[in-house]
């Protein structure tokens, strides 16, 4: 194990896969200089023909990924900000997500669409969306949202190996966060959640950048004698609903923390699955901690007030346990 930053883990995953398989190619806006650092140095190591800067042309870019993958390459298409995917959404929503299905699985379509997502940086409404729920609803595209450097490396490697399109969403502004990363070819199977910590009183499912505040909330709650079973799904397509259901059957309570807007969020989907499949185990209503159905604002205090945080997660848990009044929350 070695301590690495998130962005370094992503960079090493790309580097390792490019070295291992000459069919892996990376293209996108500014991938040579690399705004975030995740693709930095790859061109010098793997050649200009495999690491290519694109014009700011998301419409053709997302479709080129489909064509190059259909023609036999493993394509990493870096969209920079997740919001920019909307500009190139036809090829994601109508082509990549459906081509294997429409042609009865004639081909593999190994594409990784990469981008950063989420708020917290005063990037304002058009650079801060958490777009994973709408990708979840497309069908045909897997969605990975790593919360740690180790998961980023392992999930990205799996995403590149996967014969299906995968949306790899890195929490914006978290590239510098450090964590232990296993040595060697570290791979995490898509669809396997991780138990961040175990507890008996309440299940908290936290997605992507929400894992860190959920961990802090869990630590705080532990001091109040509340045991949190904290689960990070790591991928929302496929979703490891079994691990979530098992935990809810154990604790009888569920809080889902998701940076998406509340309506049709990953949180609401997870809540629906649990209501459907382990209703008898529930001791209290399911709570969602999400973003209100508004665009994220620019001004720091406004944005901060809308995003889930340690306090709002703790509050949701305490309310579930009927401890709101005594804790003064």
């Amino acid at each position: 194990m070695a301590k690495k930053r998130m962005i370094q883990a992503i960079n090493e995953a790309l580097d390792g896969e490019m070295a291992r398989d000459p069919k892996v190619v990376v293209f996108g806006e500014d991938v040579e200089i690399s705004l975030f650092g995740d693709t930095r140095g790859l061109k010098d190591k793997h050649g200009a023909h495999r690491v290519r800067n694109m014009p700011i042309s998301e419409t053709v870019m997302s479709g080129m990924a489909v064509g190059a993958a259909a023609a036999g390459y493993k394509v990493v298409c870096h969209m920079m900000f997740g919001n920019f995917m909307y500009t190139g959404f036809d090829s994601i929503a109508n082509q990549a997500s459906k081509l294997r299905y429409m042609t009865a699985g004639q081909i593999a379509l190994p594409i990784v669409y990469m981008g950063v997502f989420g708020g917290g940086r005063s990037a304002a409404a058009q650079h801060s969306d958490a777009m994973h729920p709408m990708i979840m609803n497309l069908g045909g595209i897997k969605v990975a949202l790593p919360a740690t450097p180790a998961d980023a490396m392992g999930l990205l490697r799996s995403a590149i190996h996967d014969p299906n399109p995968v949306m790899f969403l890195q929490a914006a502004g978290r590239g510098g966060e450090q964590g232990e990363v296993p040595e060697g070819d570290h791979v995490i199977e898509l669809g396997k959640a991780s138990t961040v910590q175990e507890g008996d009183d309440v299940t908290v499912v936290a997605i992507g950048a929400m894992v860190r505040p959920a961990m802090r909330a869990a630590q705080e709650l532990a001091r109040a004698g509340i045991g949190v079973d904290l689960i990070d799904p790591r991928t929302v397509v496929p979703l490891d609903s079994e691990m979530i259901l098992d935990s809810v059957r154990k604790t009888g309570r569920l809080v889902v923390v998701d940076e998406a807007r509340d309506m049709c969020s990953a949180a609401s989907h997870i809540a629906a699955i649990c209501a459907d499949q382990c209703f008898d185990a529930l001791k209290a209503p399911i709570r969602r901690v999400t973003v209100p159905d508004v665009a994220l604002p620019y001004s720091p205090p406004l944005e901060k007030a809308l995003l889930p945080n340690v306090a709002s997660i703790s509050k949701a848990v305490r309310r579930l346990l009927g401890k709101a009044a005594e804790e003064g929350a």
Binding site: P55, G63, G67, A71
Partner: protein, 330 residues
């Protein structure tokens, strides 16, 4: 004998091959149109009738290693690139034996083993996909090319500009073939398209050429130049093939359109310029084939059409108990 043109001589056999390829598309699609009207086909069908010279002119010069991307009007490209008529027909009929096991239908026929990335229900979508396939071909370095067929309507999608830009910058072996058939769905081109489509290559410095899309020999020669240009690593071309959609945008349109969007005179004028009878006359006038040769081809194709329809009609529908959710992730 052979037809002498500027730089190509076609043997009798080649000329009959072109005729056969065009007529095969025509007769198969006429049957699809009839079957659609008879209610035997579940979804919408958009026919290529009148435009066959374009698909055949290009695809007759490609191999299975070359890629094509097509449109909602894609049966002709599928057949011209070597697609199987039985598998096509069964797919359009929604049967388990179809090219895509009934999951795609008319607008999504594809055969990757033959370089057919497929028809596409989204106007202009093939333009970006083929640009990516051409990038793959360039990386492979074996001289393969990618061709996107699309209509004049698709030329008005923004992706056209994006694709020309990157294809010129990267010198991609790609040919953008705009089949200007006169209509964007139900809107005459003149009402939705400014200027000449072929001229849109100029600011990007892409090779470009306008060609009579109803003249197979002219298309073939134009295609030969563009394919040679691409295989040699000289970058993309934009070809505007002027042709005409003899049938409607969609076969069912007479049942829902309240008024006409073109005159009978205009249609009659283009029927007189139908590429297939014109080519037949040319072959016979040049002494390269007899009427008996053409009749023989007609009979062979009629048998193929019958066989394809019998195959489709005789095939089961996919079973919802075991199919329908299999291929999303595979």
């Amino acid at each position: 004998m052979s037809v002498a043109s500027s730089d190509v001589n076609f043997s009798d056999e080649q000329m009959l091959g072109f005729y056969r390829d065009m007529l095969r598309i025509r007769r198969i699609e006429e049957r699809i149109g009839d079957d659609a009207k008879a209610g035997n086909i579940p979804g919408a069908v958009h026919l290529y009738i009148g435009q066959e010279a374009v698909g055949v002119g290009f695809c007759s010069q490609l191999t299975d290693d070359d890629w094509i991307a097509s449109t909602h009007r894609g049966h002709g490209h599928f057949l011209a690139k070597g697609g199987d008529s039985k598998l096509l027909m069964a797919e359009i009929y929604g049967r388990e034996t179809g090219m895509c096991k009934g999951h795609g239908g008319s607008m999504h026929v594809a055969d990757f083993s033959k370089g057919i990335i497929g028809a596409n229900g989204i106007v202009g979508a093939g333009i970006s996909i083929i640009t990516g396939a051409a990038w793959a071909a360039q990386m492979d370095g074996k001289g393969a090319v990618g061709i996107a067929f699309f209509g004049d309507g698709a030329a008005n999608q923004g992706v056209m500009c994006e694709a020309l830009n990157v294809a010129v910058l990267w010198k991609l072996p790609v040919i953008f073939v705009c089949e200007n058939n006169g209509f964007s769905e139900f809107s005459p081109s003149s009402t939705v398209t400014a200027g000449n489509i072929v001229d849109r290559a100029k600011p990007y410095g892409a090779a470009h050429e306008a060609v009579d899309g109803n003249d197979l020999i002219a298309v073939h020669q134009c295609a030969a130049r563009a394919i040679k240009h691409a295989r040699a690593g000289n970058g993309p071309s934009l070809i505007e093939a002027r042709t005409y959609r003899l049938r409607g945008h969609v076969e069912a349109e007479v049942s829902f359109l309240g008024s006409k969007y073109r005159s009978d005179e205009e249609v009659a004028e283009w029927i007189a310029r139908d590429p297939i009878p014109a080519f037949a006359k040319r072959v016979i006038d040049a002494g390269q084939a007899s009427q008996a040769d053409l009749d023989r081809i007609e009979a062979e194709i009629a048998a193929e059409v019958t066989e394809a329809v019998l195959f489709a009609e005789g095939s089961p529908y996919p079973d919802p108990a075991t199919q329908g959710t299999n291929y999303m992730f595979a």
